[in-house]
């Protein structure tokens, strides 16, 4: 036996005699993971979170989360002798006087953007392929929670340096708190320890940013991954893949090597971005003071849509009985986001209610084979995109020589008109893609080669699809709409009332499909064709 084998054997023996883990480990080291590029999106999110832990910890060694007044005397001369908070001064210190500090700040910020982008892309993959269906509803809820908390964590993060831009963001957050009916002023005074901006907000959000939320992330991500592990990964439909199996590569060694390697690649990419692409140059903004503002204030993209909503909302306020309710803040700042995120969280349950489908699903849907869901997702994306565009209306205005007024009115109308249009178009598109699938299964793929028939006619040669391909394109279910019972057993008419009708309508819309071709159809055609 080689020496290394002997050591490994001893370690394994030591662990097993104390835990009995050998059986479990053996089973799990050969655990199968299906392979697809879209399964890497969640991995990117995980890896960027780990990068955030590393780079964030590095930053904490120098960052001073205090709003105590100091006079800057570091090596960035344009701000020499300027009065500022210790937090801002220490962020400047990290940027200019700690070797690699600026790089780490930039890596941290790029990783935050990547974290959010990857989570959102991952969420979209889950949605469009129906991976959230039973038994994976809990993981969908965890995912929605992670995205929501990610937005908060990112916002708190870029508020920490206490520069003019981030202070403006905090000011807006304070105004949202203050606008909450009845308790708003109290909440704001409690959060800020008195009048805005006060001296306690940065230290408080620091604890939340580096301890509380990362802890919650860690817990949620752990449960998320344990569930993936235990329930096994979903897979795309294809030859040999069924609801009863999972086809892919074993954890050890292929998946481990690929996933491990991929972690280094993601880390390398954020380092590359941090090296060459400047982000959040706080020294250009100056320290925060409520009396000033940096022109063209732009939040990070994951906040931009909120900003766009706030910008487009009409100037509505109610003054009654000596009280004020600011609809212009409450609707875009709390009510609409609340509805969006609640709707997103509940979607798996809504879909299962309207289809009456309570079975387990481990095979993913190709998005086209569920036109209604895909159209709904595209519609939501269109909504987010329109409001995100409005969040950048000042940039777009200067870029394309438009007035902000024009963009504002365009988006105010578009936010109601565009999403329904996108819904209809997407649904049609899905159905015509299904029709195209049907065509090539029945008639084969066009080859572009022409041959002359004995009678002189030219026909294009169609190449028959492989059995694998045919199966992939036809394996999906042909769901049936739910029927509304018009009379129940005891003779009461339409016992479920409006709710039942609504459900039947929704279910009908949901099952709209182009019938998948059957073998009989293929056979019937064969005769006539050759």
């Amino acid at each position: 036996m080689k020496k290394s084998e002997k050591i490994a054997g001893n370690v394994a023996n030591y662990v097993d005699e104390r835990t009995g883990a050998a059986k479990w480990l053996k089973k799990n080291l050969t655990k199968v993971f299906p392979d697809h590029w879209s399964f890497m999106l969640g991995e990117v999110a995980l890896y960027s979170f780990i990068i955030l832990l590393f780079s964030g910890t590095f930053l904490t060694f120098w960052f001073d989360p205090s709003q105590r007044d100091v006079v800057y005397n570091g090596s960035y001369t344009p701000l020499a002798d300027v009065k500022m908070s210790a937090a801002y001064a220490s962020a400047l210190h990290i940027s200019f006087d700690v070797r690699g500090g600026l790089l780490m700040r930039q890596i941290h910020h790029w990783a935050a953007l990547l974290f959010m982008a990857a989570m959102i892309a991952h969420l979209m993959r889950i949605f469009f392929t129906g991976a959230f269906r039973k038994p994976r509803e809990a993981n969908w809820l965890i995912g929605v929670g992670l995205v929501t908390l990610g937005i908060v964590e990112g916002f708190l993060g870029y508020s920490l340096p206490d520069d003019l831009l981030s202070g403006t963001g905090i000011r807006i957050a304070e105004a949202i708190l203050q606008a909450i009916p009845v308790v708003g002023s109290y909440l704001a005074f409690f959060a800020f320890g008195g009048a805005f901006p006060g001296h306690v907000f940065i230290p408080r959000i620091y604890t939340v940013h580096v301890l509380l939320l990362p802890g919650i992330f860690l817990a949620l991500i752990t449960v998320h991954l344990m569930l993936v592990w235990y329930q096994k990964h979903t897979q795309y439909p294809g030859p040999g893949r069924t609801e009863k199996n999972v086809v892919g590569y074993p954890l050890m060694p292929v998946y481990m090597a690929k996933a491990g390697g991929f972690f280094f690649i993601v880390f390398g990419v954020t380092a590359l971005l941090g090296a060459v692409a400047s982000i959040n140059p706080i020294w250009l903004y100056g320290p925060y003071t409520p009396g000033q503002i940096s022109a063209g204030s732009q939040p990070d993209f994951y906040m931009g849509w909120l900003d766009g909503l706030v910008r487009m909302s009409p100037p509505l306020e109610t003054h009654a009985f000596g009280h004020t309710i600011s609809w212009n803040i409450l609707i875009p700042g709390l009510i609409v986001p609340g509805i969006l995120f609640t709707g997103m969280a509940l979607y798996p349950f809504i879909e299962s209610w309207m289809t009456g489908d309570k079975r387990e699903h481990h095979l993913l849907d190709r998005p086209r084979n569920n036109p209604n869901r895909t159209a709904l997702g595209a519609m939501s994306l269109a909504f987010m995109l329109v409001i995100l565009i409005n969040g950048g209306n000042d940039l777009i205005a200067t870029h394309f020589h438009l007035t902000i007024n024009q963009i504002m009115w365009f988006t105010r109308i578009a936010v109601f008109v565009v999403p329904p249009i996108v819904f209809v178009i997407t649904k049609r598109l899905c159905l015509s893609l299904q029709r195209a699938d049907r065509e090539i299964v029945l008639h084969g793929r066009e080859t572009g080669r022409l041959v002359m028939m004995p009678n002189g006619e030219f026909v294009e040669v169609h190449e028959e699809l492989s059995a694998e391909k045919k199966f992939t394109l036809t394996q999906h279910e042909q769901p049936q709409a739910l029927e509304v019972p018009t009379t129940d057993r005891s003779g009461v008419r339409n016992p479920q009332g409006i709710k039942g009708k609504l459900r039947a309508r929704m279910s009908q819309a949901h099952v709209e499909q182009v019938p998948a071709p059957s073998q009989e159809e293929a056979k019937a055609l064969e005769g006539g064709h050759h």
Binding site: G240, A275, V276, G291, S297, T324, M408, E468
Partner: protein, 330 residues
Amino acid sequence: MSNEISKFQDPGLPAHQHRKSDHDPKAEKRAEQQVAILFLLSAISTVGTVASYIFIKPGKFVFLPIMGDVDAQQLFLGLGLAFSLLFIGFGAVQWARRLMPDEEVIAERHEFRSEDADRKDFVDTVKERAGTVGLGRRSLIKRSLGLALGLVGITPLVMLRDLGPLPKKQLETTSWAAGTRLVTDPGDRPLRPEDLEVGSVAQVLPFLAQGEERTLENIGKDAVLLIRLRPEEFQLDSKRLSWTHDGIIAFSKICSHMGCAVALYEQQTKHLLCPCHQSTFDVTRAAKVIFGPAARPLPQLAITVDSEGYLVAQQGFTEPIGPSFWERSS
């Protein structure tokens, strides 16, 4: 369900295709070397990173296309780190793809639902265990426990009370009062009307007595913008006109929407614009909102001059400045 029966049959997992490196020792050797080269490139990059840390002086700039001037040390540290990580990643992925077994395997799945017998067993056990506690019989315990658990959550909420003081009238008041002089920000110099040309803007704060400190909380409430127009350009009622002095009009600089500093003044249109959400206020009409989400004009500060000819406030603001809140009465 004729459709179901005649579905295309699953042909099963396609036969595995072997790679060249699986049977050709030469190809295998080449793949091995390739992976090793990638790992070596990473090692070299790390040496470069450490060298950049030690040898490049901070504050030296190099020019990069698009990026502009970049600090050389940060740049090379970053590039070194990036490549040392990337090459490890590339090497590992390449190793997996070229040399590790790439045959797909099939694992069985089982429905999560337990056997009916097990489920029934479980329910019975729960019932039996719960029975021994006898919660159903002991309603006094049940209710008092419910009360205790319901109340215990109040403690942490109560203990958060000292996070901050009560707002009292703080959101409604500023430092401005009758006779307060307007001083420049920055500089703290008192202003005479002559100091402002027609068409110009100035940011001012209330005069600060010797020894007093100006806090950010003060600035957040007291910041005021002065704008000088020609008196005939105003379209104000007589009261608001009397709050101006010689074409000089004063508004709170804190946006009535969400409190950003309303910093942009367009001389041509005489509009004030808030960069946060682009609420636009017409200076000639007492900062009436003409665009954007703000629902109220910027509060106007009544000004005049004192006996020495300096600009002063006639009185404090007559309404709360800044964003709305529940207790605001108008």
